[in-house]
């Protein structure tokens, strides 16, 4: 049975690694400026993880193959180096790769979180609610009107609770169910939760950020390719969570300007 | 192969009655050591819980809607009552340490001071209730503002723990009555440790409320 176990382990190692090596589950195309940092870090981690995973399963397989079914008087041996070697190996191997990935891998994190958006980044506000995303553009005056939760009226499509009658800034705000952005232009997306926790996730943008009720959060990105991409909610928010999505529509600058003009009318 | 040893005497420190078992000096059976460990472990866990409440308070305090409440004046009296109860308990405990028989003078003194501790403990609890009344009279209920919420929660949970201590004291008082022939000191020692902890905890909470709320 030990030999059989060894064979099963080898199969486990090979069959688990195969879909990765064969790239049968490829990452979605990267349309962001920082995504390549995440992708290369993922690649490096996968390589090290793969070596560790396959290595461990194969070593286990070999030991099972060699040391099961032995006679009761077969000599017992100790692994040369003993526990000391294992401790040193753990510290060196793991310690170094862990620290390396930990230290160098923060570039992607820093790019997303520690660099402020440029002064001329396009300001868009997003509101997440059960079970939809809405997006608000400040309009020609460049200012967002205030949000009044008591004025929210889904029936009349006043999702943000704007008060254009009394609030000048709100009069030219554009509300859309789609996040339309121009290509190659930095966007600063402000995140506002209307009711519960939600999360903004666009795979191709390599962006994910929770909407936290009561907190003013923002995430900035630059989309580098025209196209339509799914925005999905990744924070459990109620029964419609599975269906809560919107589209990121990246247009050329001209198309974007055209769209914006249409919305203003 | 099994070695045989003469049966050992009861090693738990005990008080005896005039015609009861002859008590021996404190040796410490494993059961008593375990109960002492148990009390300290329990104290550690309770401290951790209050640490969690405290950290929740600190986080909550950082928000813009934090307003201050006025400390109910009776709290100062309550603090004195609880501290006094710690003193009376100590007097009781030391009397008990000196006692060897339940009918002795030392034991009687221990009983009296224990009764005083009980009274002060109950007075503290009553005083906390009055504190809540005072706060309600000033318009601060549980949900009025985050400040009052924490005050009620912290003081209520603390009172629950005080009542556990009071129950232990009542049990001890019962055991110290002359009708029983033996009495385990370790129970008293552990109750004392617990009661002093509750006192120290109150000082912390009192100062916390004073400074933060």
């Amino acid at each position: 049975m030990g030999k059989f176990f060894a064979v099963v382990l080898v199969l486990v190692a090979v069959l688990s690694a195969y879909p990765i090596i064969g790239n049968y589950f490829p990452l979605p195309e990267d349309i962001s400026t920082h995504g390549h940092l995440i992708d290369s870090q993922l690649h490096d981690t996968m390589l090290e993880a793969g070596v560790a995973f396959i290595g461990a399963q194969l070593v286990l397989a070999y030991f099972l193959f060699a040391f099961t079914g032995r006679k009761s008087d077969a000599p017992l041996k100790n692994f040369p180096g003993g526990a000391k070697l294992m401790v040193i190996a753990a510290f060196l191997l793991v310690g170094t790769e862990v620290l390396a990935l930990g230290a160098f891998g923060q570039k992607a994190w820093a790019t997303v979180y520690f660099t402020a958006p440029k002064a001329d980044a396009l300001q868009i506000q997003s509101q997440a609610e059960q079970f939809a995303f809405y997006f608000r553009y400040p309009g020609p005056d460049g200012k967002f009107g205030a949000i009044h939760p008591d004025k929210i009226d889904e029936g009349n499509q006043n999702y943000f609770g704007l008060d254009p009658a009394n609030d000048v800034d709100a009069r030219d705000d554009i509300v859309s169910g789609e996040l339309v952005v121009p290509v190659n232009r930095e966007v600063n997306l402000m995140l506002h939760a209307k009711d519960f926790g939600h999360s903004f996730y666009v795979r191709e943008l390599r962006i994910q950020q929770d909407f936290v009720p009561g907190l003013d959060l923002a995430v900035h990105f630059t989309a580098t390719k025209v196209g339509k991409y799914e925005i999905v909610c990744t924070q459990l928010c109620g029964l419609g969570h599975y269906n809560m999505k919107a589209y990121l529509n990246v247009k050329s600058q001209d198309d974007y300007d055209k769209w914006l003009k249409e919305q203003s009318q | 192969m099994a070695s045989t040893v003469a049966p050992a005497v009861q090693s738990a420190p005990r008080l005896g009655s005039r015609n009861g078992a002859v008590p021996v000096s404190f040796v410490g059976s494993s059961a008593d050591r375990a109960s002492r460990s148990g009390i300290w472990v329990g104290i550690f866990a309770i401290s951790m819980s209050f640490a969690a409440f405290s950290s929740a308070l600190f986080v909550r305090q950082g928000t813009p809607d934090w307003t201050h409440i006025v400390m109910p004046s009776v709290l100062y009296l309550n603090t004195l009552l609880l501290l006094a109860s710690g003193v009376t308990l100590e007097i009781s405990r030391r009397s008990l340490t000196a006692a060897t028989l339940i009918e002795s003078d030392h034991a009687r003194r221990a009983r009296i001071w224990l009764l005083a501790t009980f009274a002060l403990g109950i007075a503290f609890c009553a005083g906390q209730y009055i504190a809540w009344q005072q706060l309600r009279a000033a318009g601060f209920y549980l949900a009025t503002n985050p400040n009052s919420s924490f005050f009620y929660v912290l003081t209520f949970i603390h009172v629950l723990h005080v009542l556990v201590g009071v129950a232990a004291i009542v049990y001890l008082l019962g055991r110290l009555m002359a009708s029983h022939s033996t009495f385990r000191r370790s129970l008293f020692e552990n109750t004392a440790v617990y009661w002093h902890f509750i006192g120290v905890l109150w000082i912390y909470l009192f100062l916390l409320c004073l400074v933060k709320l």
Partner: protein
Amino acid sequence: MHETSVEPVHVHAPPQGFWRKHVFSLDHKVIGKQYYALALVAVFTGMFLSWLMRIHMVWPDAKIHGLELLSKNGAPGGVMTPEYYLSLLTMHGTLMVFFVLTNAPFAAFGNYFLPIQIGAEDMAFPRFNMMSFWTTFLAWFVLMLAFVIPDGPPIAGWTEYTPLSAVGRDAGPGMQWGASLWGISIAIFCIASLLGALNFIATTLDLRAKGMTLMRMPLCTWAWFITSCIALLAFAVLLPACILLILDRHAGTSFFIPGGLVASDRLQPHSGGSPLLWQHLFWFFGHPEVYIAILPSMGIVSHILINSMRKPLLSAKVVIYSMMSIGFLSYMVWGHHMFVSGMNPLSSLTFSFPTLTITIPATILTLIWLGSLYGARIQLTSASLFAIGFISMFVSGGISGFFLAQPSLDIYLHGTYFVVGHFHMVMGVASLFGVFAGTYFWFPKMTGRYMNETIGKLHFWITFIGTYLIFMPMHYLGLIGNVRRYQSFVDDYMSPYLWLHKDMTVAALITGAAQFLFLYNVIYSRFKGAPAPENPWNCTSLEWSIPSPPPWNNFGDRHPIVYHDPYQYGVKGSQGDFVMQDSPEQIIASGD
């Protein structure tokens, strides 16, 4: 053969009468079995729920006959509603994490064997012990009530993030009384666990037999002891969190609910609370909790591995220190569940480093287990198969954690099936393998009968292969961005991968069915299994020096004296290639 010393004072009187013997027993062995029975009920319930979930995920409109009996509102005509899927998901997680993974490896086996392995007659506080089981039972009962109330169980997941879990019915179905029952149940569970942990710690510190120094305790005892220290602090924090949540829900306070929220078209009457506060409190408990789930299994697996390889580990001391460091570090990493939660991004980095560092003791353990197998004489039994399988599973599950520990990668992988695959492999499989191994190993001691080895081995192979087939694909799905906690996959990018979900469902159903082999084996062998001697595995620890099943006070009227560490294998003993811990015979090396 067994040296003894005499110590006075029995911890409690011998049990008389049916109720004292079998129901409200003070005997740690009975209590251990009660915990195990509760865990069995919980695990089969949880497994059944996962079947329902997996079936629904691939066939969302399927009519599941009989489901409407479980919930009229949740599954009208047998077709599961999206909210009911989330209810089942919540109950699955809650039952499995609390009532299975904390109960079985820790409370059940720990209660049964820790006192015996240290040479004690019972736990330090038998009455508290009985109370802690029945309090756990009460917690389970309160939780299960959520199934019978009309609105159903809560839908916010076992993590019950606020404000979804705090505002009440406006959050959705099940979020009124269902969520309250959850909060009350878990608060009761906290109290039960605190009592239990207290017992374990006091017992380990003070009731060890003569000669049983801390370093001579078996590795599983060490694991239970370290786990109880972790549990003491972790549950002491969850309890306040649950209390504050219940107050938010019912007393109008705003610990976790900010102002200005509009849910179900109603402006919520709260203000100023912090959803992140709940996450911090919850995960401060939640992360140590997962180590509470895995550490006992690590100890059990080590113990069984040594016995089946007939040689000690490369260093028991290093294993003990590694387990201790894991326990210590487990308190510094909770923020890795919150990398993209909106907390300070700098905090995310500071949480990442201890998370990555925990890899070191985990690797040390793995390398020691692997390295110890070299040159051994491995005997494969159902118990040792699961123990060795644990190593494979722990490697697989642990390595995926390495990805998630890096905030940059977590940006992409958070909230996807990569996470689901990771925690199921370490907790749902590896930890459970420790429980299976322990069951096969200790069953003869607990009942005086062997379990059926053929069925046991079949159970192992189906489970080992089956769980790889279920949970390994989840990592691939995570890589393409498959979001978790979805009742079905309606996103465009998911359609090319739905076939994989179907495969996983089939694997889950088959693997789940194999668990009934285990259940049958346990029940049948209890009554009809082949009789087992006192020490069927030629094991060295103290539990194997007493009759099977043990008498009510474990060692009878004697109290053992311990002479050696618990892993004297590969030596020339009077009974074979081992020397028992309480045997005064000298250790003579085997000369090879």
